[in-house]
Amino acid sequence: METETLQQLRAVVEDCVGKHLTTSATFFADKLVSLGSRDPEDVYLYAQVLYEGKHYQRALTLLNREGLASRVLEGRARNSGLESATSSSACTAGKYMTEYGCDASDTRIRLTYLTAQCYAAMNKWEECLKVLGRGDLEDVEEDEEMNKKRGPCSSNLENITGDRGADIICADLANGFSTRTETHSRLRKRGSISTISALCLLRGRAYDALDNRSLARHWYVSALKADYFCYEALAALLSQHMLTVEEEQELLASLQIEPGDKWLKFVYVTMGKKYHPVNVRGIEEGEPSFCFKMLNELTTFKRRSCWTGAWYGRDKQARNHLSTRPALHKTLDFETELVALSGNGDIAQANAECLYSRGDFHGCYEIISEVLERDPFQLSAIPCFLSVAVELRRKSELYLCAQKLVEEYPDHSVSWFAVACYYYCVRQFEEARHYFCKSTALEKAFAPAWIGFGHSFAAQDESDQALVAYRTAVRMFPGCHLPLLCIGMEYQRTNNLILAEQFCVKARDICPSDPLTYNELGVLCYRNMNFVAAATNLEKALALAPQVSTDLLEISIVNLAHTHRKLRNFDAAIMWYERALSISPLSASTYTALGFTYQLRGEFQSFMGEAIDCYHKALGLSPEDSFAQEMLTLALIDQCAVTMPPYDFVSYDPYPH
């Protein structure tokens, strides 16, 4: 067969793959293998085509038949005595290389990767790991120790993979290059993803599937370190809350991002945890909070009115604004990308999540629903949308969204999570629970469903079950503060104040910027009669909360007012109660409390009129308030005692004239 014909045939196969003509591709690839006398390159192509066509077992059989995959396993068996299990695959790779020569090393690794992928696709994770090498935890630790001994700058490659097996692969690969100490970025050709990184990612996924979360985390991190373009690893780390804020920050800082890709770092940071305080004075600004500030700046200038959707500001204005800010200008050398990205779905989603975490639900809803309008099935944005819709009790939107999702993705956990959210919103907790459960069954590491599951128990006062659900969430998502906070709240509700405080403090340590956490801490201090601390916490909560009037803000304000009342700062208490009323003027309990404060402030002598007014308003709104009734009667009696019509002098003249 002429080489030219073969080349042409290869091109046809590749083109068929590109055009998704899988059957044709399979047919021609098969012929190619036969015609081209089993060139490993062609076998690889055929296997690839089979994989694309979802014929995983067939691909494996092919690889075995052609002695490519089997050699991997044989090699493993042969070398197991000499080398640790982890490095076996790599050794076979090395062995293979000696047989086929250095040029084929790349193909070899790709073959290993494809074999592993096939196993992964068939959910045969053990086999997959066998192909990849296990990379057990002890080895990892050992390795890390070694790294420590060697010092931080000894070798990038060890740092990248952290595993001797993969290390050797790297070494083999690196043979193509000049030295072993080449930086990892050189391993990757520009415009492609490093194979090492893909291998690490796959290993991470395997451990994830086998429920070994610490190893999974390790390999995801490795994947990202090997190639910062390996977004999947970051997405896995983020969506499963595997890292704490600090770890996340550390990881992102350690990525050696090239100057041209600076925008990517910005994107990564904004997609990360939203636990950094934004716009709070007196807090040192790290890079993340700076990025969020940027995000804010961008969106305030391209922001619709919170509720009504009027656009305020235009692109031009935003750009002008950015360039007139010297502080920003200095640090930002990717301004054009930044402005271009401000309309991007992921960035908008990050911004929405940021607003959500700070309790600005209306703002969040506005942005996230716009994102979904543009791309209705941007699945990563959907949990955020659902949560905020539940907060705002938009049940029709929830219903519609759930219907669409179930129709389109009946096997996806998010779809059933949406259904559950709808039922939760309409307070049908049994059904909600059922669907939350279904959602977690489809994807065990789906954090929102676990928390929702807990909520649906808590809503029906079933504390124990709620706590179980939350605890599972805590175990699975160590980087997420919400389950901890929920546990704290649940303990608080059941009057277990000591435990409640422990959990709330933990939650605060993880996320120091959630106003809700500070509110809970404030309430706990209040209940422990530590009013000064309560006031501090609540003031913190207010400082962190968005300045838009929301229920959350109102609750914190009322709590702060109660605290000031207990501290006998009656003027401050009155001021805060009035603030609360200006947000929600129909709250009976606030009126009652305000009346009581007036009574206390006037020592039951003055300010009675104000107190009586407040009690009247409270009773007008909720006539069954017995405290208000009782205090009103007392106030009226006191009022009667302290007010007397003034004395007028009258000279009596009893006699007729």
């Binding site: 129909l586 009022q639 009596y652």
Partner: protein
Amino acid sequence: MELETPRSGAKKPSSDATRAGAGGASAGAESRWSGRGTTPETAGDDYILAKAYFDLGEYRRASHQLSENRSSLGRFLRYYALFLAGEKRKNEEALEVGGVGGTGAKDVANKELDPILFDLPIIVEDDHPDSSETCDDPFLHYLHGLCLIEKERKDEAKQALCASVRGYPCNWSAWEALMPLCSTLDEANALPLPTHWTKKWFTAALQLELQDNRKGLQAYAQLVTEIPASAIGVVQMAVGHYNMREFDRAQSIFEDVYRADPYRLEGMDTYSNILYVKESSAKLSYLAHSAVLTDKYRPETCCIVGNYYSLKAQHEKAVVYFSRALRLNWRYLSAWTLMGHEYVEMKNPAAAIDAYRHAVDINPRDYRAWYGLGQTYEILQMPYYALYYYQRATRLRPKDPRMWCAMGQCYESDQLQMTVAAIRCYQRAVTWNDMEGIALAKLAKLHRDSGNAKAAAHYYRLNLVRLENEGADTAEMVEALLYLANFYKKHERYRDAEACCMRLLDFAGPAKQDAKALLREIHNLQNVAAAAAAAGGGAGGGAGEIEEADPPMDTS
């Protein structure tokens, strides 16, 4: 119809005043507002479409249509329509929860307020050249003020409304919205208001509202000479007279107004109140019929008809009409008060309290409602509550003897038994010329019971004078005469005592016998005194000087 004026008359620009001021924004110099974009032609086609939707009552549609419109009119209509949409939904929800007069109606809120309040300050502050039309727009300020009032953010509301009237002084609705926010005239004068003729109308109206009727009347008299064609001023004067209980003058003014403009309904509910108080049922009937002919479904008409039925003692029917008035306008103050009165007549205190409370919620300066609340609680034997409400009423009308009498009664009640306080109240009532004479009788009795004979005699005498003037021969008179006769006898004013006894002889019953006995006694005493005088060389004559100093008041 009522939806466009959800804040009762308060939103409707009083036609006369506004028309007279059609000259435009003469005092707008301080404002940044350019005033452009205020005609439909310049506001764009989408404005005209939206206005059509608005006129059809499709508020949300109108509002949505104007999302991108940046003209002054467009922006205003957009947010105003949204506001009304929220009001409409709120009213519907209130009906769903409890119906008119239901207690659940209070805790529904206009859900569009937060979005509007979020947007308006941004728009008004935005001094970008593109939005110059709406920068500092007085009408947006006005709307902002309305929303702030709903949220009970009164200081901010005042600022917004002041800014509105500064920019466009002829928007009478803004002035009216400002009125309930000023609790004294000084407070209003301290506000940064424009010097414009509308301010005089505002001041006059506020004076009436604050029950400073005399000054208000003067102000209106002045204004009416300036703009003689203004019926508004004349009607307001009638209201002032009505407030001062000068019913005849008020009535004659209303009759003039009616003659000049027989199809006018504004203010005629006050006229019907006057006719009700004067019990002229024929005139009231005539007024009711003519109002029904003019427009049966106007709150004022319903109110007039309600008054008519009330006067006929058909209280159920009256309630039906008052509640119809309230369905037409939920914030129609006098209908709530009058409905409360009807419920009191129907011995339904719970419903009465609810109605009155609505009234004071809408306008806490309605003394009739406070007084009604007091009365109702008195019926319920809750004097502490009653007292508080009477206090509120007297604070609004310190010169009204009825309130003071009512308060006195409360202090007297078995639960309080604060005689001293009661006495002071009745004294106040006397000072302010109590027409019904309750106060004098009560004072006499209270002083008598607390052993202050001189004071008791003082009030018995005054009460006697009053009764004589009225020409009534009642048991009260007998009581007064008997007490005075005894008092004079004790203090050796035998001639005065004798005079009292002689008058008592005109009455039938046991009093006559008592008087005869007294007379005999007096004659004896006179004889003894005469003898003593003869013996002692005329040392008498000092009888009246026994208790020269007033006994301290608070001894009881």
